[in-house]
Symmetry: C3
Subunit: 193 residues, 3 copies
């Protein structure tokens, strides 16, 4: 059940975030004849859902999160990552410097809030590399492209690693966090193990 929810979280965030990128003209799909869901080619949200599930499985094997995160933290983490995703759709007129420093600082704050451990940092960093590389491959295949002004990092947006970093950090702890009920009403955290 946590695995299904993890996949659906990735699916939903990918779908809604990508809708923002397409609506803002940040990205464009180029293959004709592919069914669309909201603004996305149908394969995109499935790819994001699987990627989030993959990062969550890796994090689970690394015994993440290192601090207790509950279902409510999952709601906050998912909402914050989606907010950052949507926010990147507003950055088309910003210079690379501003966009990268701003998204990078937010991404570091998200990681440090969610789970400030070296292991979650490793998952986030791997996501920050593999995610943009995968999108570069998608662009190279001609399936989609980032528009002028948002394509300075090998055809993808320079702030893209920051978005994957934040998403990877939160994803790394999802499976265990989804098993922890909210600690409300009294806010005292439950130690794991």
């Amino acid at each position: 059940m946590p695995r299904l929810i993890t996949f659906l979280l990735g699916f939903g965030i990918g779908l809604a975030g990508d809708a923002c990128h397409v609506a803002s003209g940040t990205t464009v799909y180029d293959w004709d004849g592919v069914p669309t869901l909201w603004n996305s080619a149908i394969w995109f949200p499935f790819l994001v859902g699987l990627a989030v599930l993959g990062a969550a499985e890796v994090g689970h094997r690394l015994d993440l999160p290192s601090r207790t995160r509950s279902r409510i933290d999952v709601v906050i983490g998912a909402a914050v990552v989606l907010a950052l995703y949507a926010f990147t759709a507003t950055l088309r007129d910003q210079t690379t410097t501003v966009a990268v420093v701003l998204c990078g600082a937010i991404a570091v704050a998200v990681w440090a809030w969610w789970d400030p451990s070296p292991r979650s940092l490793a998952v986030a960093l791997v996501a920050a590399v593999l995610g943009p590389l995968t999108e570069m491959a998608v662009v190279a295949l001609g399936a989609s492209h980032y528009t002028a002004g948002s394509d300075a990092l090998g055809g993808v947006a320079p702030w893209l690693p920051c978005l994957y970093f934040a998403a990877g950090a939160v994803a790394s702890g999802l499976l265990a966090a989804l098993d922890v009920p909210s600690t409300a009403p009294n806010d005292v955290a439950v130690p794991r193990d």
Copy 2:
């Protein structure tokens, strides 16, 4: 005393947030001869103050917040809602998709941080419906209007329900929270009851 502070918080946030909407050209007041306070027609901040007090009374009867929230949380919550209010004034050039996904994600994060209970969700959802409906009525009366590009939801802005959702969530717990001193210096929360 908590009731007066709650009213004044709503009054102040309404006044400062509305100043942003008028300054940015998001909204325009249309009735002549109405006294103004900062950028608002005089009745607007009173209306917001009463609405916040009303949501707080409803939340109080529902025994909200469900988790301990203190005066300092009130400061953070009020500041975050005002920040979101002011931020919506920067969204005139954004598409509806980007504006709604971005504001919606932030609003959900605010609710989950402040008080992730079904009851506070109910208050927030009612606010997200009644608030925009009230503003549609104000527009229909000819007292004010949202400008082109920010009027796609029956004459009001599409992101308006998100702003009311966040404000309603925080408002629902204000009365009890204002009775709880800050738990600094040691950060351990005090259970309610």
Copy 3:
């Protein structure tokens, strides 16, 4: 060691934030022949590093922070201040009202989250006055200037006091916070003294 880290945090945030202000055209350096580091005249990050260290020393003598803040809180606080710094570089097209209300609300939230004590408020307020005054002096000396639309406060940006307020609040508690290891994995705060 906390003093060196504090200086380096100020140095790094000043360097990256200023790079955003220069890249966005918010500020321009005017003296020829001064060595540059990234986008800054070489003296700027040193000045910010020393200012942050000064605020941290004052806060240390005032026994700040009043609540336990750990190294991870320092990471979050530094990232949030840098995010606000970079975000101000996106405000060139916004009215003074919107920019000041938005940055002011965020700055208050940062203070209330980091250390909601009257003493940290005092440090933040002094920073909000001395920082912009110092920058006005720099502008008067002809070393740099804020561009049209971002110079309405005696030659500097109207939102500048808000940025210094947030930075001063966090800086006030850095020295003690850098001595407190993260309280992960179980999130229960360690009371000071």
